[in-house]
Every structure is written in structure tokens, then in C-alpha cells.
């Protein structure tokens, strides 16, 4: 089985590089990809399959909510997670539809790893295209 493809999106490069360092130890488990804007992320999605999309909410240009919504419509097989410093009400509501899990910055690395692991597990479990596309209609579901 190929390694899960995970795409991180954040307009702050330091966040991405820190994540890269922190998750380096899991380099055998996952293939990690990085994008510093929604546009870059969408290009990446267009170019290759991504299993898990992890994005910030507030970004210049297309923000996280719009990216998630497009991803939901165009790449329903991709699991969607939010990692954002904006714990305010409006952001959560905006992300509630297209996301499947909301992680608040600063996020404990273990919690992030757990979230990614469970997402991968879910994907594995639902490795049936038809079932996954059905599941997309449930706009969100708890992953613990």
C-alpha cells in the first residue's frame, strides 16, 4: 500500500517548516507536501492525489474556508482538517461544513499526530471509492 499523501497549507512558512521537522520522525509513515497559499494547494491537488488536506483558516487571497469548500466539491476523496489560530466563533462556523476536524493553534504535536493517524485509519477503513463518496455527503464527522 502506498504511503498516505498529506498536504499542509499555511501562509506562514515557519509553521510549515516546524511541522516538517516535528513530523520528520514519521517520514516512513506519510508523504508530506507543503503549500503556502490556497492557490498553490489547489494546483497541488490538481496535479496529484492527496489523502489528507490540513489548512490554516485566515490566509491572504483565497482563505481556508473557500479552499476546504472547493476541495470538498472537486476532491471528495480527500479528508479535510483545519489547524488554525482563529478559535473564534465565525471561523468555526465557516469551517464546520467543509471540514472534518478542527485543530486549534497552538496544537499539541501528539494531538496533531493522533488526528492524522485517525484520519489515515478512517481512509484505510473506507478504502472503497463508493463508500467514501457517500461519506462525503456527511459534511463532517467526529474522528475523536
Amino acid at each position: 500500500m502506498t504511503r498516505p499523501q498529506i498536504l499542509f497549507v499555511d501562509d506562514e512558512p515557519s509553521v510549515l517548516s516546524a511541522l516538517r521537522r516535528m513530523l520528520w520522525k514519521r517520514r516512513e509513515d506519510w508523504d508530506l507536501h507543503w503549500a503556502t497559499s490556497s492557490t498553490e494547494a489547489l494546483n497541488h491537488l490538481h496535479g496529484q492525489h492527496v489523502d489528507i488536506l490540513v489548512t490554516d483558516m485566515r490566509m491572504p487571497g483565497t482563505d481556508g474556508a473557500a479552499l476546504l469548500e472547493q476541495a470538498r466539491l472537486r476532491y471528495p476523496g480527500t479528508a479535510r482538517l483545519v489547524l488554525s489560530g482563529h478559535a473564534d466563533h465565525d471561523s468555526i462556523i465557516a469551517a464546520a461544513g467543509p471540514t472534518q476536524q478542527f485543530l486549534s493553534k497552538p496544537c499539541d504535536p501528539i494531538a496533531l499526530e493522533n488526528a492524522l493517524d485517525s484520519a489515515v485509519a478512517t481512509i484505510r477503513l473506507l478504502d472503497d471509492a463508493q463508500l467514501r463518496s457517500l461519506l462525503v455527503d456527511f459534511r463532517s464527522f467526529a474522528t475523536g
Binding site: S14, A18, R21, M22, G85, A87, D88, S104, P106, P109
Partner: protein
């Protein structure tokens, strides 16, 4: 002769009246009427007397003449028969003459050429005039004369020898004249006339030259005499006798006192009547004389002018017939006429219309002319009072209008007074000298003056209140009076008479602009204490909200670097751990083999220099502590975000968490002063709260407690950290929060004012005095809860907040008294 006399009388009677009988009698009144009739009668008598006297004179003359002729014819015819016949005739004539003379009213005597009284009638002898007797000139023997005095008299000759008493037959007339008491002057004059006549053979034809001479030669003197103390008018007539023996003059004395008096009265009455007639004619009032029945006898010109009826047209017609315009048919007018018909006086005012249609108001006064108690005529005086009536009408209308205006004005005033009194703004007005002209209830209450009457007429100095308002008003009013320009909305902070600090928005306006500036001032003050408090709270809320928004933004900005700092720290920790493990392994390998001087020995030396034991212990510690620090920062940021979370409306709130985040946020305020102990009931659950405001209250309470402890710690013997304990518990009806400090506590005086706005015991610049008053407003007013304060000097202070779990539906009440220390029970 009697026929002649009667004819004379008739002639006099007809020509006598000077005025139309009706007019005169009416104007003269009853007394004049009777006087006139008696004057008429007396004058008639006088006239009769004179006529009779003249007639008698003719008779005498005729007798004398015939006697003379008889004597001649006797001599000529010479017949005895004729003589006898003539003598009989003569005797008859003498008897007739005698009886006529005796019948006369006046006293009469015949004076001879030598002044002897030849003959006299009974009145002369018996005394027509009282004093002729009283003076002792009474006849000696009346019976003597009663026999045949005429015969004696005409025998003549013998009279001179008898020396009779003065005045009697045979006495000297002139002597009598001198002695008649009370009449000397008049008789002296009469004597002159008699002498004059006696001395003249024939009566003079130039009679006009002598006063009192009549055509027949008779002369008279008239004079006032005093008889028996009464004044009498006597006329003495002297009639010359010609060719008749010795007789020369007939002297008669007639008492004309009564006729004279009546004549005088008549003259006065006539004058009066003429005057009255003049008035009646000349007056502007219409004058009507009617019979009691209403039939008109006379009207004057003003009547004609007013009514249009001339005298000729009016005479004989009832007054009512000349009234037009409908009033003549009114019951009032009928009653008026009825009174007149009864001969009573009557007054009335009636609307009339003239013959030509002019409408006017007549004031009619009717008075009876009484004669012997009976009304013979009615005199109507009718005045045109149209102008007066119109004036009165206008006056009444004016008065009605004035009354209406006054009523309206009074209502207006009542309304205005009510409005001014009712409005909560302070209102007063003063004259230009600063004396109060009035003020409303709010102003009185503010100044602490009992009633407006204590205020009126006083100025600030005489009022003597000496409060903060006094000086403020003094300056403002002086400016307004001087400039005439209003000063609007001056903000001032004053202490009212209860010692409360009040914020006023005061306007002073000129009362009325005169040529010499303002005549006074009007002051209007709005108590904006409450409004300003709300404003301040709003401003604070706005500030807190913006701080909250800022904090949320900052939290986000901080969260992102924390994210990668913590990620990197973790990576470094893990990587270091791996590196250290590898290094220690390499060091152990180096130790286990005999390195010698080869590369291994160098590696061993490098490893030793690393002091791997120290690094292996301290690098993880350093990273762990860094991560702890990051955790702290994360917590603070989260607390800030929580605290700044505005909350909207009253929502079920996790009060414990709210307290935790608040304590965290204000940590800097207390951490060097006190320890904060949280004793939060784990199962306290949620309570319906305005979360933002509640957190603000808790923050204020913690900061307040910390400041109190700090103040206490400033003293040398109190250097330990204080304690602030916050606990929560859930009761049946309330969520209870207690915030206790072990600071200095408060005395009773401070305790009572601790919730007052602006009250503070802190040093200047350290507090606004708003914290606890805001707490009161939020808990009591907004949450319908309660704040209890348990404190005593030296025993700290414990605030207990009771938040109702089942609050009333309304979120807030519009007003409340922020000075109350106890709230209403829920």
C-alpha cells in the same frame, strides 16, 4: 248796574289766564293750581270791588246831579207837588246811597273842604282796620250813626261844633291821619293827596303828572303798614267830588294784603312755571304730559325729533299708540302703563322704534302731578339711552371677552405651571438683580429649599445656602446679564444638598432683551449624573469591547509563532535526545576499546570534552522548561481570548471557567501582592449570566482586593503576601460567588458608601471610584442579584455575589438606585 258789573267780571275771567290752562297747571303742580285759583278769585274780588266803587261813584254823581237839577226845577216850576216828589225821590236815592256805602268792604269817608270828616261808612267807623279801634279812635256811639248818620251828615254845619274824636264824623281828617298808629307814613301821603284835591276846584286834566291818578281823577296811594304787629298792604284811594256842598273828596282804605300776597305768589309761581316750561322746552329729553289714562296733552320738541310725532299729531292720542317696534305689546310695557294708569310713578327702559323706523332705547321716567293727593297729569321724561345701552352692551361683551381671556389665561398658567413643576429639569428665573422670581419643584429639591415662597424675592446672598451652586450661578448670571447672550449647556460637577456628587448641564438664558440688556435670567439645569454614568459605562464597555477584539487578534497572531516554536522545540528535544543517545553510545564504544593514540583516542577526547552527562541532563531540562513556558503563554492567550469573548445577552455560562480566565488575565495585578486561591465547586455547572459583565465584576473585585491588601502591606510589619480566596457554590435559587481578602477591611462609614459612584479611598490616580458601583449596577440592576459585604476593620472583606438561577424575563430594569447596598430579594 249789576248787569254791567257781571259783564265786567266775565270779561276779566276770560282774559286773565296767561298760559294754556293745561300746561300751566301741570307745570305749577298741585299747590300752584290751588293758589292760582285763589289768586284769581281774590283778584276778581278786588276787581269787583273797584267796579262796585266806580259804580257807586256814578250813582253818587248821578244823585248829586239830579238833586241839583231837582232844586232848579222846583224853583222853575214852583209846584209843591214836584218838590215833594223830588224830595221823596231824593230821600230814596239817599237811602240807596247809604246802603251801598255801608255795603262796601273798604272803609270810606267823605272829607269836606276844611278837612272835616263829613260822613263815613260803618267799616270806617267800626274799624275796618284793627288799629283804628286799638288806637282809641273807635266811634263814640255807634248807635248814633246807626240811626240816621247820613241825615246828620248832610244836614251839615253843626258837625264842627261837636269836637268829635279823631276819625269820627265831624273830626278832622288830617288830625286823624297824624295820629293813626302804624299807618302814619301812608296816611301822611294820603293826606297830601286829599289836601291837594281839596285845594283844587277841578280835578286836573294832567293826571299823568301825578302818580296814582286815574282818568276819573281818582288818586291812590298804596303802602305797607304794620297793624297789630302784622304787616299789611293798604291802598288809600282819594276820589275828588265836585260841586257837592262841602264834600270835596271820598277817601277809601282797602286792605289789599291778601290780594298782594296772592299776587306775589302768583308772580313767583308764574316765574317758576316759566322756568320749568323753559326747561321742558329746552331739555334734550323728550317730555310728554299725559292724563293718567295715557292720553297726551303736550309734548316738547325733543319728543317730536325723537319719535317723529309733532305736538299737534300727538295731542289726544295715547302714548302707547306712538310706540313702535313691538315693545308696546310686551308684558313689561303693559305693566309699566298699568302703573301709570293707577297714577303711580314708573321707571323703565324699552327698545323703541320711531315713526321713521329708527331704533333706539328709551329710558322713561314717569311722575304723577298730584292735586289734592290725586294724580291729575303724568309727566313723562324720556331719555334716548341708545348710546349708553350700546356702551353697556359693548362693555358687557368686553367683560365677557375679558373673563374668557382671563379663564383661558388662568388655564394656560395652570398648565404652564404644571409643566414647569412636573419636568425633572431644574428650572428657575430671576430678575436682573439676581432675585428669584420663580422656580420649579426639581430646583427646590436640588437646593434643599422647602417651598418656593422661601425662594421668591431672595438673591443667592440672602438665601445663604452657600452651596456649590451659589458661586456657579453667580458667575454665569453675571455674564449673561452683562452680555445678553445665553450660556448653553455648561457642564458642572456639584455636590447637592445631600452631599451627593451630581453632574449638571446648566444653561442660563437672558429672560427678555431690553434696550439696557437682559431684564433677568432663566436657568435650566439637567441632572445628567445618571446619563453621564451610563455614558461612562458605555464608553468603558466600548473600550472593553475593542480591547477584547484586539486581544482576540493578538491571540491569533501569537498563536501562530507559538505553533511553530513549540513544534520546533519538540523537534529539537527529540532530535537532541537522539543525538545525545548516539553520542553516549559512541563514548561508551570509545571507552570500551583501547584507543591508544589513534583516531579513537581523539574521538574519546572530544566526547569527554562534551561533558555529555551535563548536556544529557540539562538540554532536556531546558527544552522542557521552554515548553512549559510556551504552555503558560498559550494559557494566557486563551484566557485573554476567553475574557475578551463578549458574550451576547444572558446565556448559560460556565462561571468557574469565567473566573479562572479572569484570574489569569489580571495575574499581574495580584501576583506580587497576594496568592489567589480558587475553591470552585466542580459540579457548580452553568448559570444564566451576562458573561462579559460578570467577568468585569470579578476582575474589579480581585483588583480591588489586591489594592486593599497592597495598601495594608505598605506598612512595615505587613510584608507577607496576602490571600484572595474565590469560591463558588450552587444553591437552590442562586449561584453564589464569594471573593474574600485578608486586607485591612473597612469601617462602617466606608462600608455604607462603597458602592457609590466616584467614591474611593484610594490615592489620587489609583482608582476612579467606579469599580464597585459598576459591580453593583451589574449584579443588582442587570442580573437582579444581590451583593453582600461582610467586613470589619482589620478583618478583611468578603463580597458575596448572589446570581439568580431563575431570573425574571426582563433582562434589565431601566433605572435603579446605585447607592443601595442591598438589593431586592429575587
Amino acid at each position: 248796574m249789576s248787569d254791567m258789573a257781571n259783564g265786567d267780571q266775565v270779561a276779566h275771567r276770560e282774559t286773565h289766564p296767561a298760559h294754556p290752562a293745561g300746561t300751566r297747571s301741570a307745570l305749577e303742580g298741585a299747590s300752584h293750581t290751588s293758589q292760582a285759583s285763589s289768586i284769581e278769585e281774590l283778584q276778581l274780588e278786588v276787581q269787583q270791588l273797584r267796579t262796585r266803587l266806580a259804580a257807586q261813584q256814578h250813582v253818587i254823581d248821578a244823585l248829586v246831579e239830579s238833586a241839583e237839577r231837582g232844586a232848579e226845577s222846583v224853583a222853575r216850576l214852583g209846584t209843591q207837588h214836584i218838590v215833594e216828589q223830588r224830595t221823596a225821590h231824593l230821600n230814596y236815592a239817599k237811602r240807596v246811597l247809604r246802603s251801598v256805602i255801608e255795603a262796601l268792604d273798604g272803609a270810606l269817608c267823605i272829607v269836606g273842604a276844611d278837612g272835616t270828616v263829613l260822613d263815613a261808612n260803618g267799616r270806617w267807623l267800626h274799624g275796618l282796620l284793627p288799629d283804628t279801634r286799638s288806637c282809641g279812635h273807635a266811634p263814640d256811639n255807634p248807635t248814633h250813626h246807626a240811626g240816621d248818620p247820613a241825615a246828620d251828615r248832610f244836614r251839615g254845619g253843626d258837625t264842627a261844633t261837636q269836637a268829635p274824636a279823631p276819625g269820627t264824623i265831624g273830626s278832622n281828617f288830617f288830625a286823624w291821619c297824624r295820629t293813626a298808629h302804624g299807618m302814619q307814613d301812608l296816611l301822611a301821603e294820603a293826606a297830601t293827596v286829599v289836601r291837594d284835591i281839596i285845594s283844587t276846584d277841578r280835578p286836573t286834566t294832567d293826571d299823568e303828572a301825578t302818580p296814582g291818578t286815574s282818568i276819573s281823577g281818582e288818586r291812590s296811594v298804596k303802602g305797607r303798614v304794620t297793624l297789630d304787629g302784622a304787616e299789611r298792604w293798604i291802598v288809600v284811594r282819594v276820589h275828588p267830588i265836585r260841586d257837592h256842598d262841602d264834600a270835596r273828596a271820598v277817601v277809601s282804605l282797602i286792605d289789599i294784603t291778601d290780594p298782594m300776597r296772592i299776587q306775589e305768589q302768583l308772580r313767583q309761581a308764574t316765574e317758576e312755571a316759566q322756568r320749568l316750561a323753559l326747561v321742558a322746552r329746552a331739555t334734550d329729553s323728550a317730555v310728554v304730559i299725559t292724563l293718567p289714562g295715557g292720553s297726551i296733552e303736550w309734548v316738547n320738541d325733543p319728543f317730536t325729533r325723537r319719535t317723529g310725532y309733532s305736538l299737534a299729531e300727538a295731542i289726544g292720542r295715547p302714548r302707547r299708540d306712538l310706540v313702535h317696534g313691538g315693545c308696546q305689546d310686551s308684558a313689561e310695557f303693559a305693566a309699566f302703563l298699568a302703573r301709570i294708569a293707577r297714577g303711580e310713578g314708573a321707571d323703565g327702559e324699552f327698545p323703541m322704534t320711531s315713526r321713521h323706523g329708527d331704533r333706539y332705547w328709551a329710558n322713561i321716567q314717569v311722575r304723577p302731578v298730584l292735586d289734592g293727593g290725586k294724580a291729575t297729569h303724568m309727566v313723562w321724561v324720556e331719555q334716548d339711552v341708545t348710546a349708553r345701552r350700546q356702551t353697556q352692551h359693548r362693555l358687557r361683551e368686553e367683560m365677557t371677552r375679558a373673563e374668557r381671556l382671563a379663564t383661558a389665561l388662568s388655564q394656560e398658567k395652570t398648565l404652564l405651571t404644571g409643566v414647569i413643576t412636573a419636568i425633572p429639569q431644574l428650572v428657575f428665573w430671576k430678575d436682573r438683580h439676581g432675585r428669584y422670581l420663580g422656580c420649579n419643584a426639581a430646583y427646590l429639591a436640588f437646593r434643599g429649599v422647602h417651598s418656593e415662597t422661601d425662594m421668591l424675592g431672595q438673591d443667592e446672598a440672602s438665601l445663604g445656602l452657600d452651596d456649590a451652586m451659589t458661586q456657579a450661578l453667580h458667575d454665569l448670571e453675571a455674564q449673561v446679564i452683562a452680555s445678553g447672550q445665553p450660556l448653553v449647556n455648561r457642564k458642572m460637577d456639584l455636590t447637592d444638598n445631600h452631599g451627593q456628587l451630581r453632574a449638571l448641564l446648566l444653561s442660563v438664558l437672558p429672560l427678555a432683551q431690553g434696550a439696557d440688556g437682559a431684564r433677568g435670567v432663566i436657568g435650566v439645569g439637567a441632572d445628567i449624573t445618571h446619563a453621564r454614568e451610563l455614558e461612562r459605562q458605555l464608553a468603558q464597555a466600548n473600550r472593553l469591547e475593542s480591547i477584547g477584539q484586539l486581544a482576540a487578534g493578538i491571540a491569533h497572531e501569537i498563536n501562530t509563532p507559538i505553533q511553530y516554536i513549540s513544534d520546533n522545540t519538540r523537534f529539537v528535544a527529540e532530535a537532541t535526545s537522539t543525538l545525545l543517545g548516539a553520542a553516549q553510545h559512541v563514548a561508551a564504544l570509545a571507552d570500551s576499546c583501547d584507543a591508544g593514540n589513534g583516531p579513537m583516542a581523539q574521538a574519546k577526547a572530544i566526547m569527554d570534552a562534551l561533558e555529555l552527562d551535563f548536556l544529557g541532563q540539562e538540554i532536556p531540562n531546558a527544552l522542557t522548561e521552554s515548553r512549559d513556558g510556551l504552555t503558560r503563554v498559550t494559557e494566557i492567550v486563551r484566557a485573554m481570548k476567553d475574557y475578551a469573548h463578549p458574550g451576547s445577552g444572558r446565556n448559560d455560562t460556565d462561571v468557574n471557567r469565567a473566573i479562572e480566565s479572569t484570574v489569569q488575565v489580571c495575574r499581574n495585578e495580584w501576583k506580587y501582592i497576594a496568592q489567589v486561591h480558587l475553591d470552585l465547586a466542580p459540579n457548580a455547572g452553568l448559570a444564566p449570566c451576562f458573561e462579559g459583565e460578570l467577568k468585569q465584576v470579578i476582575l474589579n473585585m480581585i483588583v480591588n482586593a489586591a489594592h486593599a491588601i497592597d495598601e495594608d502591606r505598605a506598612r512595615p510589619d505587613h510584608t507577607d503576601l496576602g490571600n484572595i480566596t474565590i469560591s463558588t457554590r450552587r444553591e437552590a435559587e442562586h449561584f453564589v460567588i464569594t471573593i474574600a481578602d485578608d486586607g485591612p477591611g473597612m469601617d462602617e462609614k466606608v462600608r455604607h458608601r462603597v458602592f457609590d459612584p466616584f467614591f474611593t479611598t484610594k490615592q489620587v490616580g489609583k482608582g476612579t471610584g467606579q469599580g464597585l458601583s459598576l459591580a453593583h449596577a451589574v449584579i443588582v440592576t442587570k442580573h437582579h442579584g444581590r451583593i453582600d459585604l461582610d467586613t470589619a476593620p482589620g478583618h478583611g472583606a468578603t463580597f458575596t455575589l448572589h446570581l439568580p438561577l431563575n431570573p425574571p424575563e426582563t433582562g434589565t430594569t431601566p433605572t435603579s438606585d446605585p447607592t443601595a447596598t442591598e438589593s431586592d430579594p429575587p
